[in-house]
């Protein structure tokens, strides 16, 4: 008996060893390579933003700077109105996210549960809207902005950003509302909640993961959007970060301020990274656990 077991074990061993090799070495290696591939440009920007000007233009390349400086960052805040750009971006992004969710959530609920007349047609239209590339709307939007004299107004960005993200918000939230147990709503009705109270106090807290997800998508879109922001806003103190970063000029026409651009990029990305990390904690899985048996 023991002999057989030993034989069995010894036969298995090489295979098990091979598995361990894959697990211990190849998996981490692949992960490292993928991370390198994805994050190298970001890393390059980050390092550049801390390099002295000579190191940036040095040949051969200085990969890891020996000298670290914050001068590019200080320059952004002292000589250019970078605070202003951040505030502009934050204001526009936050408002369009909030508006998108406040319009999108009731609309999604109505489509999911109240069964309005022609609900399917509305849904199809919403779906079609998501298929348009935003850039196609650009010329039309420009006309509208001109016609309404909304140029150099935050609304010129807030309205299109909200509109572009609304279909996605509605679709995601609708499917989320649909999978919430119907009994929960019936129970709320028996307790005397009206539709609005029910939506605000019972359903939205349960849709938090979906709200956070769609909110973040809307926010990132609004924060990063370039073309509309470039065209519809020309006043210096109303520009958003992507536009400002792209338009960073220097004293002479022949010099490109790589360091400042890199610093602006890092500063522009930082809030997004922070946001995602923060809310990743908030998206608690299984929030609906315990509502119904199962």
């Amino acid at each position: 008996m023991t002999v057989i077991t030993e034989q069995f074990n010894s036969k298995l061993q090489p295979k098990g060893g091979g598995k361990r090799l894959v697990k211990k070495i190849i998996f981490p290696l692949v992960i490292i390579l993928i991370m390198l591939f994805c994050l190298a440009p970001v890393m390059w920007q980050l390092l550049t933003s801390f390099k002295e000007n000579q190191d940036i233009s040095a040949v051969p390349n200085v990969y890891f700077p020996g000298r670290i400086t914050l001068s590019h960052y200080l320059d952004l805040f002292n000589n250019r109105h970078f605070w202003r750009y951040i505030l502009n971006s934050a204001f526009i992004s936050i408002i369009s996210t909030v508006v998108s969710l406040t319009i999108g959530a009731p609309a999604a609920y109505a489509l999911a549960r109240l069964r309005p007349w022609g609900g399917n047609i509305i849904l199809a239209l919403v779906l079609i809207v998501t298929l348009f590339p935003g850039i196609l709307l650009f010329l039309g939007l420009l006309e509208i902005i001109q016609g309404l004299r909304l140029g150099n107004n935050y609304l010129a960005l807030i309205i299109p950003y909200t509109a572009i993200n609304l279909p996605l918000t509605i679709l995601v939230l609708r499917s989320f509302f649909q999978q919430l147990p119907k009994d929960l709503e019936d129970s709320a009705k028996m307790d005397g909640y009206n539709t609005v109270q029910m939506l605000l106090q019972i359903l939205l807290p349960l849709t938090l993961p979906a709200l956070v997800t769609t909110g973040i998508i809307t926010f990132i879109f609004a924060w990063n959007e370039f073309i509309f922001a470039l065209t519809f806003i020309t006043r210096e103190d109303m520009k958003t970060i992507p536009v400002a970063a792209a338009q960073l000029g220097s004293t002479s026409a022949f010099e490109i301020p790589y360091g400042s651009i890199a610093a602006a990029t890092v500063l522009g990305t930082f809030p997004l990274v922070l946001l995602v990390l923060l809310f990743q904690q908030k998206i608690v899985q299984g929030l609906t656990a315990g509502a119904v048996k199962g």
Partner: protein, 381 residues
């Protein structure tokens, strides 16, 4: 719940107003082909515990949802304490409902779950606290008030769901299969608890279930539903002893009642080779349905009059009893089989068995309509 020491408190929980609930010719039509509730009329008084019993799809849940106001009836009226509430919103009806899935608000603590309905009704905070703590004491939820439903076991969730209905002190309590999500052992215990709790309530209770044990044990009145109609509305004992028609006879009772379509000859129905005397009937039909519960079929004693012989072809041991299936001796083409519930002490020596069918235990049904043939039963034992 229903701990002995908390019984005193249960009697304290009273309702503001007593009420009679009446359904008049309720009908719900979704489409010409989908009519879950065809015509249902019933009344439930204070202190009554009405169970709507029926197989799935019989319209019992739809009826309950119409009472609750979650569905609007196509026709008919719902009257509570003399007031027509057919088109009132569920929140304005002063009814509380326990859902099959419990439907607790997962993001709220047990305390908030219990009190949310009261808060909406703008009841003063002090009274809310008092009512919640009363109910919590009654149901043994004191330790759980700060937890969320996700941190509770199935039985605890169920108690919270019942508690949420009780704190409302409503005029009517509605329960939609509240036990079906519990395991068998727990279900038996909670069933007893529910009986105790709602026995102390004056308000009428409407309970929906497909489980006949629940219906029999809990109710003061059972409405057996099928096909959107009330088949029989009676106290549980009467439902069991005097089923109004073939459906009720077959649905209530486990193991199922023996139902045999027999040819009639003279004043007898022929069960195989054995004549069974027919009751007093105005006209003698060519065929008749005989019903007898397995628990009423017994081994023949020497002094029994109406005995039959048959072959045992299956014995199922149920522990307390053996369910014996017997093929009745017959020289006709048609074979009749009869099931009998015999206690294990009763033994029979061969495959051949002699059984007694006592006339007072036999139910007769019309072949055409399925209705029970109302017979004056002789007062013999």
């Amino acid at each position: 719940m229903g701990k002995p020491q908390s019984k005193i408190h249960a009697s304290k929980i009273q309702n503001s107003k007593m009420a009679q609930l009446e359904l008049r010719n309720l009908n719900k039509t979704y489409s010409p082909k989908v009519v879950p509730v065809k015509d249902i009329s019933l009344t439930v008084d204070d202190n009554e515990f009405l169970t709507l019993l029926g197989p799935s799809g019989c319209g019992k849940s739809t009826t309950l949802r119409m009472i609750a106001g979650l569905e609007e009836p196509t026709e008919g009226q719902i009257i509570l304490g003399g007031e027509d509430i057919t088109y009132k919103k569920p929140g304005d009806r002063n009814m509380a409902m326990v859902f099959q899935s419990y439907a607790l608000y997962p993001h709220m603590t047990v305390y908030d779950n219990l009190s949310s309905g009261l808060k909406l009704k703008k009841i003063p905070r002090g009274e809310i606290q008092q009512r919640v703590s009363e109910v919590a004491l009654l149901l043994g939820l004191e330790e759980l008030l700060e937890r969320k439903p996700g941190q509770l076991s199935g039985g605890q969730r169920q108690r919270v769901a019942v508690g949420r209905a009780l704190v409302r002190r409503s005029q009517v309590y509605l329960l939609d299969e509240p036990l079906s999500n519990l395991d068998a052992l727990l279900r038996e215990r909670v069933r007893a608890d529910i009986k105790q709790i709602f026995a102390t309530q004056k308000a009428p209770v409407v309970y929906v279930t497909h489980d006949q044990t629940e219906a029999m044990t809990l109710s003061t009145k059972v409405a057996v539903l099928n096909n959107g109609y009330v088949q029989q509305l009676d106290p549980p004992a009467r439902i069991y002893n005097h089923p109004a028609n073939l459906f009720v006879a077959g649905f209530v009772g486990s193991p199922q009642m023996n139902l045999l379509t027999l040819p009639c000859q003279g004043r007898n129905a022929l069960l195989g080779d054995f004549p069974i005397p027919l009751p007093q009937l105005p006209t003698l039909p060519p065929q008749i349905i005989l019903g007898i519960r397995p628990e009423h079929v017994r081994l023949a004693q020497p002094d029994d009059n109406h005995t039959i012989q048959g072959q045992v072809f299956l014995v199922e041991n149920l522990g307390m009893y053996s369910l014996v299936s017997v093929r009745v001796e017959s020289n006709q083409k048609e074979a009749f089989s009869l099931r009998a519930l015999l206690s294990p002490e009763q033994t029979w020596t061969q495959e051949q068995i002699s059984l007694a069918l006592r006339p007072q235990n036999i139910h007769w049904f019309d072949v055409q309509s399925g209705d029970a043939l109302m017979v004056k039963r002789p007062n013999r034992v």
